[in-house]
């Protein structure tokens, strides 16, 4: 199909990738050495003191409130996002492997950035299980953005994007949570809206006019769709943990899990309905099932810990299943053809629009909060109307929540434009257009060397290009 001679770009990672990995990891070690320590609940001497002062026993250690949720979130980031991105027929290694790489780097940098901005005291960042969850959350937004550029960038580009995106995420999160005093426990705004529009801006800047050449490779094969379903299901099942992981203890975590469970269940039904409705002969499309079924989790990210109520959650899920499926059928092709936004995984459908909806639902739910429903103390606790915020009312909070959406969107667009520009620099080893969506460029693919004959539709298809 394509001759080696057409390969003008040098995609050899041999020095660039190791250099970036090693230098940055050394930097992490130095910065951790200077700044990062255990928080009192993970520090042997401090926890002894805490237990006496607060008159509690070991079971009240933050670990037992959050560790199971942390592990579920961890699975979502690494197996969920990782396997969801194995749907391409020849990019499974890249999907799950590069996601692994960028997330492993990103969580370290996120611990630092979020630490400096949120919990920096006396020159130290004190980390505990909640820090690990927040780092995973931050990296989640990078995994989302990765979905837009999947198959079209080198691992070095991904690491650079991770460095910048984690930084911008943390700044945006700081503005929302600390300055605007906004609630966003499941990250509809900070994670999904920010991550999606950041990624979409990056991919539009990295626009490749000749991608139709690789049309076949942009599709799945039978078994790659089943691998992707592993990712889908782990994301779907553990989303209640995602949205409840950093909520307040007790009722808030409990409620966030229930709301998310309900929203996701409704979302499956409408995704299936519209997938069938919009396909010829009413056949279901795996792309919709793999993605649109998850939109309900995205869209209750902000409001799940509030008194959204189960039927409110069902309504949100109902709408998002429809919006996302329509997005895949009509909006993604439109963005590609008209706006030159090539969105490999359709993150605009799964994270962009549902993220915006989630921000709006959160603002409305906050504005509609009353003492009648929450109780006086409950309302104060829920929105943390204490200290300098003791005068805030739910309706004012709703306004700030709405402002949070706008800020996240602005940060994503501006940040994405800058980072996209940086990634366009010619020395990061991105693949040629005809080599996109092809593991063979950056991975030793088994069987590549021995033979050029291969069964056309074989799942172990060996690429014809041997650079």
């Amino acid at each position: 199909m394509v001759r080696p001679s057409l390969m003008a770009k040098n995609t050899d990672m041999r020095w660039r990738l190791p250099l970036v990995c090693l230098l940055w990891e050394v930097a992490m070690i130095i910065l951790f050495g200077i700044f990062v320590r255990f928080n009192p609940e993970a520090n042997v001497a401090d926890w002894e003191k805490e237990k006496q002062q607060r008159n509690v026993t070991d079971i009240e250690n933050e670990f037992y409130f959050r560790y199971p949720s942390f592990q579920d979130v961890h699975v979502m980031i690494f197996v969920g996002f990782g396997f969801l991105m194995t749907f391409l027929q020849r990019y499974g290694f890249g999907g799950v492997g590069f996601n692994f790489l960028l997330a492993a780097f990103g969580i370290q940098w996120a611990l630092l950035m979020q630490g400096w901005l949120h919990t920096f005291q006396h020159g130290k960042i004190l980390i505990g299980v909640e820090s690990l969850i927040n780092a995973d959350f931050c990296v989640g937004s990078v995994c989302i953005a990765f979905g837009a550029i999947l198959g079209k960038v080198s691992p070095v580009q991904l690491l650079i994007m991770t460095l910048f995106q984690v930084t911008l995420f943390s700044v945006n999160e700081y503005i929302l949570l600390d300055l605007l005093h906004v609630k966003d426990a499941g990250g509809s705004m900070t994670i999904h809206t920010f991550g999606a529009y950041f990624g979409l801006t990056v991919t539009s800047i990295l626009y490749r006019p000749n991608l139709e050449q690789t049309k076949e490779k942009q599709e799945s094969v039978y078994h790659s769709d089943l691998f992707a379903m592993i990712g889908t299901l782990f994301l779907w099942m553990y989303w209640p943990s995602f949205n409840s992981a950093i909520s307040n203890h007790g009722d808030a975590q409990h409620r966030a899990a229930i709301n998310t469970y309900c929203s996701l269940a409704a979302c499956v039904l409408t995704s299936v309905a519209f997938s069938s409705l919009l396909q010829k002969r009413g056949k279901l499309n795996m792309v919709h099932i793999q993605n649109a079924t998850l939109a309900g989790g995205v869209a209750v990210g902000t409001s799940a810990e509030m008194m959204l109520t189960p039927y409110g959650a069902l309504i949100v899920g109902f709408i998002c299943g429809i919006v996302t499926t329509i997005g895949y059928v009509y909006i993604t092709p439109f963005l590609d053809a008209k706006l030159h936004i090539q969105d490999t995984c359709g993150i605009h459908n799964l994270h962009g629009m549902p993220g915006l909806i989630g921000g709006i639902v959160g603002a409305v739910t906050a504005a509609a909060a009353t003492e009648g429903v929450y109780g006086k103390k409950g309302l104060t606790n829920m929105f943390d109307f204490t200290g300098e915020y003791h005068n805030r009312t739910p309706s004012i909070q709703g306004g700030f929540q709405a402002a949070g959406i706008a800020v996240s969107l602005a940060m994503a667009l501006v940040g994405g434009a800058i980072v996209g520009g940086i990634l366009k620099l010619p020395f990061f080893g991105d693949p040629t257009d005809e080599n996109c969506f092809e593991d063979n460029v950056y991975w030793e693919v088994p069987g590549d060397e021995e033979s050029s004959l291969y069964c056309m539709h074989d799942s172990n298809a060996k690429p014809v290009i041997n650079p």
Copy 2:
């Protein structure tokens, strides 16, 4: 092989499936809006009051007692059952995808049905994490029944079956738990016996005389067997959570997990032994490994929370590994040939017989309970011999347990016959005999359109039939 002209039935789902999904989901929203609210442990105002009244802290919220187990059960329903049913070579999408669809609908309807029958107070259903577990349990019985008809029905038929089966499950559960005051924390009777015999009755009514035509498609290929092992292992590993999820706090949950762990371990050994013994040349059969190894979990469903003891659990597991493997080798072919019961996944072996054994083991264990072993207070707590049941003795309890088996069986057979009759109506779009076990009928299968040439034993095999 088969010509399009032979396809008399209309399997186009374009209007039927969306209509059912959307209408029913709207109904869910309305019913949830009228009936479903958070229970006091998930409600911000109520939990504040509870904490004061009961003088407890947040860690005593029901959420922390049950949420990790809930998530494990959730994985069993969606990944466990879903992937277990991907073993067919050309029905992976249907196996995991339809399971996803029916379970997502079923949990919503189960929240309502179980709520009305078990926790309805002052016109409201108050839900919490235990409700989510119970809804998942209820749907588990539908997933089991799905196993019998896998590959032979349309998604509309599955949704209709789910609607009726969840309803009947809830009624049966009400009779057992509330009227007979029977213990069945892991659902040997309510989930497995009921689900299996319901599904077997349905499949016998939907009997298809010409299924030998699809013999090849009823088999696995190498990679589909590995996908199925994902399902097997998550079911096997998380079964201790399944059987302990709704047991009493403390020792009961603890004990249920240990008993299940032991039973499952023993079951693997005897499954392997009999798989080798009954095959020619002593080779192991993946069908047995995928299924029979799980029978030990089914069969301690009722008794795991009781003082079954670890060696008692080993004995139960030992027996069930043998019974189930023998079932696959001898009983399934017999049921098919003589009784016209076509049981795709062999649920009679994995859930039917072990479920019955589990009910009997539960009855015997209950009848054998003594104050010497449980302590006076422990015995009362274990079997809830309070209120109108304060006069029950263990031996009477054993009798009621046995009655529970009979009721579950009767409900399954009668209910299955009625529902099977409904599903036989000609307008639900079920596939023709020659199109059974074939994803191509209801799914866009990648690569289907471009070529009719394909590699015969390719895992991405494209069906020759293009309707």
Copy 3:
């Protein structure tokens, strides 16, 4: 390729495998019947008493401290190790299936052995959730050793090895924990060092000179590498649970999880760096990504619960990613060619060297412990300097830790030599050299019978050999 006539050995398992499975399982039942009972936290009568005596509520039951971690460890043993070993193109059934078999037997025997040696009182072994974790840990060392001989032994040989290795593991653990009073919560010494060098000794004794014949089968195919990544990721994600599962309540579990999280993250970066650096054209090798990324978890096994600090953990992970990757590129071929150690999965790289490093890091961290960092009470609790050990100082403890490494290594080498000798006996049905790494020998492989034609690079490739 190979003719049936060359098959001198009898690999028919029909009587041998069932006999071993059934007899041993009967033995388990008898021994459990005599010895094993629930511990007070899982026993209904005892827990009632405990609650009163200790004045606690149900949430303080050991179950809630450890059950989520137990389930994560359980996933690591069965899905983690199981799927990690499916990377071979024609040994997926054997990888995941035999791992399932040996682990299911091993945990039962481990409950007995560890019970007799650690918790035997008044003639009974009292088990609880911590016993289940310890049994899983013990079996983990057998799964490691299995990695060295993967594809070259019969299931009967594996069961025999499990019987002996669990026994020796328990004795070694007893010497370390009870006699030397060494800390090793994550098992760098007891699990990884012991398991790896035991397995390497066994495989060197079972040396097969003609394995190059099966060179192709020792490689992966595209989808088998993705299956293996399921194993890798579940091991990687849940390793923080592994290292914290049996640590002290509160800060120690909390800290162990954080340290492990950090070490693993760093390890991914250096594994990727060196994989790219050492391959031609800088392409990443899936073998390195699947394995070396995990070395960081192994190497903080001893020290994770200590005050290793996050940057200390990063340094350990940094080093181990490098050491392990270099191991795969240079040391494994060297061991094979020069020392006749055929290490299928490269356990020397992933468990051997990092296990030794982990032991050393543990010894150094223990020796460096001060009252300034731990507090007086904290130091005593951490290292259990009570009773006959009340005079131990951190530096003496460091010396004993170092002795623990030596003992583990010695036990592994001597034990492995003896067990290897036993496994060499000619009547256990091991495969011929040309049939190694081939599921067809012990499994019914789908499609085997119908045709000898198959697509060369098909993932469902049917072996040409039909014995």
